[in-house]
Symmetry: C2
Subunit: 291 residues, 2 copies
Amino acid sequence: MDDRALLAGVAAIIGSEQTLDDCAVVRCDSRCLVLTTDMLHESTDFPTGMTDWQIGWMSAAVTISDIASMGATPCWLLLAAGLDRGERLAGITAGAYACCERFGCRLVGGDTDHHEELTVVTTGIGAVMPDRVVRRQGSRAGDLICMTGVPGEAEAGLHGFKQHWYTLIEPQPRVAEGQAIGRAGASAMMDVSDGLALSLYDLQTANPSVGYTIRSRLLRRPAGVPPAEGLELALFGGGDFELLFTCAQDRYPIAGVDATVIGAVTDQPGVLLDGEVLEKRGYQHLWHETR
Amino acid sequence: MDDRALLAGVAAIIGSEQTLDDCAVVRCDSRCLVLTTDMLHESTDFPTGMTDWQIGWMSAAVTISDIASMGATPCWLLLAAGLDRGERLAGITAGAYACCERFGCRLVGGDTDHHEELTVVTTGIGAVMPDRVVRRQGSRAGDLICMTGVPGEAEAGLHGFKQHWYTLIEPQPRVAEGQAIGRAGASAMMDVSDGLALSLYDLQTANPSVGYTIRSRLLRRPAGVPPAEGLELALFGGGDFELLFTCAQDRYPIAGVDATVIGAVTDQPGVLLDGEVLEKRGYQHLWHETR
């Protein structure tokens, strides 16, 4: 069983409208609030060599990225920490605080508990005008498929390409870009933290009547990585917090957004790379069913 | 180092106004939102014998109780689960969903991850009109000290008094009571989940210029428990989600709230039981500093 199978079980209880996007969307007076929570563990989510400050920064960044991917403004963040050693809390809190400050968000509270393995859960709340929310659902045949930045850099950092280390451990969520993409009227958006390939399949799930065709020659690759490995990382590497979005051709380019067109939405369901079915793999949590 | 010492370190970074209450309070259009997150672990927070459904219920209830303790209405809940086995998610989600339904809250999303020890983090968002928020700060000398329900029942359940088992594992947050207490203009409020004694000391911390004097003869005790043990549990037992509040004498009693007066706020700082300093102990997480 993987993340996406578990999610289907949750959707059966709370409704699939709430589980399709990076954030839940609720109405509060004249605005929409977007709500998201992320759980990270030391052994699976924080590469060896990170400082506590960087762990705090990354924990805040992943949640702020989810908010950015809805076109929303991050407002408030809560941080719950299961600590192996109490003295780590100060560094983690300082890192999360710095990331919040950088992106205009306020760290307003949290909870602590003792835990054998460091566990950090961040919950973020953003706000957006109802007509500016961008969801995963909404792609139309003929739309461009676009993404910000360079896919694969974070995984390249994990694989020892030192110039990409900070992309991995101090990710920069695309907050201003997400808002600009929302203002421009993009038809669908998400972040690519599980990798570009899986993200395209997530868009396919949310938009079953269209298809997603990308071209390898249009994909940017992490600098300093041999071409074949670069393509592999760009398609299947995790840990990037770039934005993947679709928009009508007349809405592109978008002022202030460093993005590239990587393909097009078609009227034939399927996720294709250069005309062939793209392999469905990337970063997925797996559970052992019996132990 | 304990919870409260760690919290002081966090307050130095994010500001003490945000760490004093059960929830952070932020402004959203005409309303206040209250935000809170709680982390629970199987070995330390869920008594042996609980079902996954009850684990989900309890996880939602502790967060809803924090919202109730501000006089607010619970609106939305997010649930992050670190799962030892993926198949537990369905039961946990169903229990949390049921608790949300019971108290008018919506379970709108979450996150999952694999973890050796089951870890559940719930984040709740409530709403309240600005003039109805009740904080920990605000007690005035001459106010009554009051609490809902019977302190010590949850811990009695843990100690084998079977009639109190469900108070322990399926706690009922005092949502309607919290709102009524807020409407009545109470001067301060919190829930007593760490025990009555520690909660009184938390009120003392938030209100350093007044004191809290309670009387043992005024305290209700868990039914079926010998008197001395009952007093011990009522003062120092954890896991109750009753509300502790102070209010001016002319505001009491409050329609629809099953509460008792247990003492009075004085102009002399200190927490006293029958005229003697009350021992400062209860449910506290403790960290091992070196291992």
